[in-house]
């Protein structure tokens, strides 16, 4: 029977079928960070003699609050640090760290056909490498560390074919947001999104990661993209330079539980106006007249309002969605020789990304423009540290969630690509990079 790419990866990892459509699925790699790992690691130590299935199948890091901001987060970091050393787990401490979904691929830890889990919903990012990678809870992660497996319901597979090619100005972030708007904020629930088509093939690995990163925002278990020569070149350039991985693709006549086709050439730069990532409009468009009142009340917007009339109080470029070197280059292209007019935080996705950016002089462009250039952390994306929003303030952000309160109690978040965030930081309102050479006046 012809199979999808996802089916092939899944089938190769089923240890045992379990009752009720569940399966015991082998995990080639478990990624462990300091926020969600400690209770599980402690439970294994306390109740299971500190036994891990295979410590070589774990990689750990400090990423969410790096370095610790207080005693409580310091204890979280210290717990992961001592546990990692005790088990000789590959561990990335502050200085050598990064957001897990940025660090793990850049070091070459994930190869096509692997299964990967992490107590973090954006683990779907790694599907960009042709892996089955998914977010899970703390106890499920502990199970994977203890027994090498997850208990999972087999997801259905949705083919998301993106035809044509993205046009100038449209980015992987715009595509990611447009996919969510197309299938709906919960339209991917129960599915894996298997991306294919010419517009996908043309994406760089970093852009594929941005796209897969937001599969969870449609409710999907994960996203997955077949490996190709772009994947091979990316992996060959990583420090681990893994080789010998399978070049798997979907069978040409594979059947999918659902299929959508998106015209890549129709993707336009978009910005979110609502309280979930599916609520977006083109940057040169308006807040829709049929927008839910509840979203608009929280966001303090009105139907029909021009997107470019929305003033912002802060800008953030970072997060596991858009903090890689290509994202920083895109922001630098806009910020070069300009000045930001609102507080702007630029947080690289890993220390390796930070060092590369500095080799290219991007840090000077950012700081000459008046932006704050930081070390790597998840930072304000989830409202934990390094730039949390004040109540009632509005942030244009390259991150992934615009939920109420996500970046700080009462804070309002507009999601966009890094270049749009940079342009908005300069003009102090939602803005297209195309406006930067000849800034237009603010108009309502």
């Amino acid at each position: 029977m012809p199979r999808s790419l996802f089916d092939k990866v899944w089938d190769a990892h089923v240890v045992e079928e379990l009752p009720g459509g569940n399966a015991l699925v082998f995990m080639d790699l478990t990624v462990a960070h300091e926020i969600t790992t400690p209770p599980g690691a402690i439970a294994i130590e306390r109740d299971f003699d500190d036994q891990l299935y295979d410590a070589r199948r774990i990689v750990s890091m400090i990423d969410h609050v790096a370095p610790a901001k207080d005693s409580a987060t310091a204890l979280q970091a210290q717990t992961v640090r001592t546990w990692s050393k005790r088990h000789q787990i590959r561990f990335h401490d502050i200085g050598d760290n990064g957001i897990c979904h940025v660090l793990v691929p850049e070091r070459g830890y994930v190869t096509p056909g692997m299964t990967v889990c992490c107590g973090d919903s954006h683990t779907c990012t790694l599907g960009a490498l042709g892996a089955f990678a998914l977010g899970i809870g703390t106890t499920a992660q502990a199970g994977a560390m203890l027994a090498g497996c997850l208990i999972l319901q087999r997801p259905k597979v949705m083919q998301v074919e993106v035809t044509g090619a993205l046009t100038a100005g449209a980015t992987a972030k715009d595509l990611a947001l447009s996919v969510i708007a197309t299938i709906g904020f919960r339209g991917g629930t129960g599915y894996v999104l298997e991306y294919s088509g010419s517009a996908i093939r043309a994406l760089t690995m970093e852009q594929r990661m941005t796209l897969c990163n937001m599969a969870i925002e449609a409710g999907a278990t994960t996203g997955i993209i077949a490996a190709d020569e772009t994947t091979a070149a990316y992996l060959a350039a990583t420090p681990a330079a893994p080789s010998g991985w399978p070049l798997q693709q979907a069978d040409p006549d594979a059947e999918y539980a659902a299929s959508v086709t998106i015209d890549g050439s129709a993707i336009r730069p978009v910005v979110s106006w609502g309280t979930n990532p599916g609520e977006c409009s083109p940057i040169d468009g308006i807040v829709p007249f049929d927008a839910p009142e509840e979203s608009l009340t929280y966001m303090d917007l009105r139907p029909g309002q021009r997107m470019s009339s929305i003033a912002v109080d802060q800008a953030f470029i970072g997060s596991c969605t858009n903090s890689r070197i290509g994202d920083l280059r895109a922001a630098a292209d806009v910020l070069r020789g300009q000045r930001v007019s609102v507080p702007t935080i630029i947080t690289p996705g890993s220390q390796a990304v930070r060092r590369q950016a500095e080799r290219e002089g991007l840090h000077d462009i950012f700081q000459d423009a008046g932006a704050l250039w930081t070390h790597s952390s998840c930072g304000p994306c989830l409202g934990m540290s390094m730039g949390v929003l004040a109540p009632g303030t509005r942030c244009i952000s390259s991150s992934n969630r615009n939920f109420p309160g996500r970046m700080g109690d009462g804070g309002r978040v507009h999601l966009a690509a890094p270049a749009v965030v940079a342009a908005s930081a300069i003009l102090g309102r939602l803005a297209s990079p195309a406006e930067i050479d000849a800034p237009a006046a603010v108009s309502a």
């Binding site: 402690i42 299935y53 109420p404």
Partner: protein, 174 residues
Amino acid sequence: MIVAGYVLPIPRANIDTDQIIPARHLTRIDAEGMGEHLFEGMADGVELLARHPEASIVVAGENFGCGSSREHAAWALLGRGFSAVIAPSFARIFSENAYTNALLPITLPHHTVEMLMATRHITIDVVNETLCADDGEQIRFALDPLRKQFVLGGGFLNYLQAKIPAVRAWEAMR
């Protein structure tokens, strides 16, 4: 196993885990203390809990628990004395976390959930997968047959521990 309690109606879809427990509270190395911050990320969350001080069963709209994978969302609900969430649909990770922690995630059709939203008290027969609201008719629901055992008797990690020999044998044959 009977779970009975008063209803906390949340007539909205997409109650995400940031609303259930904001990330600023995810700073512990155990599962304790989450209950006191339940729904702090929801605009009317604290007020809602104050209006329903005895509630122990959430009845909410579609896609409950979407967003972050934080198991703290299940811990916060349990820590505040909740034992079940009834909704037309759940986010996958929340549902998995709920089962693992013996918090009942009950999926029912939209119109049934809407009807339950207006009731005061619900009695749930977990073993037989039925529930009854106020003096209404018996309503059937379906639990994941495997994960139901974790609700009834816990032991999620013990179940996986017992699988280790089979996993090692599988890996050796791979």
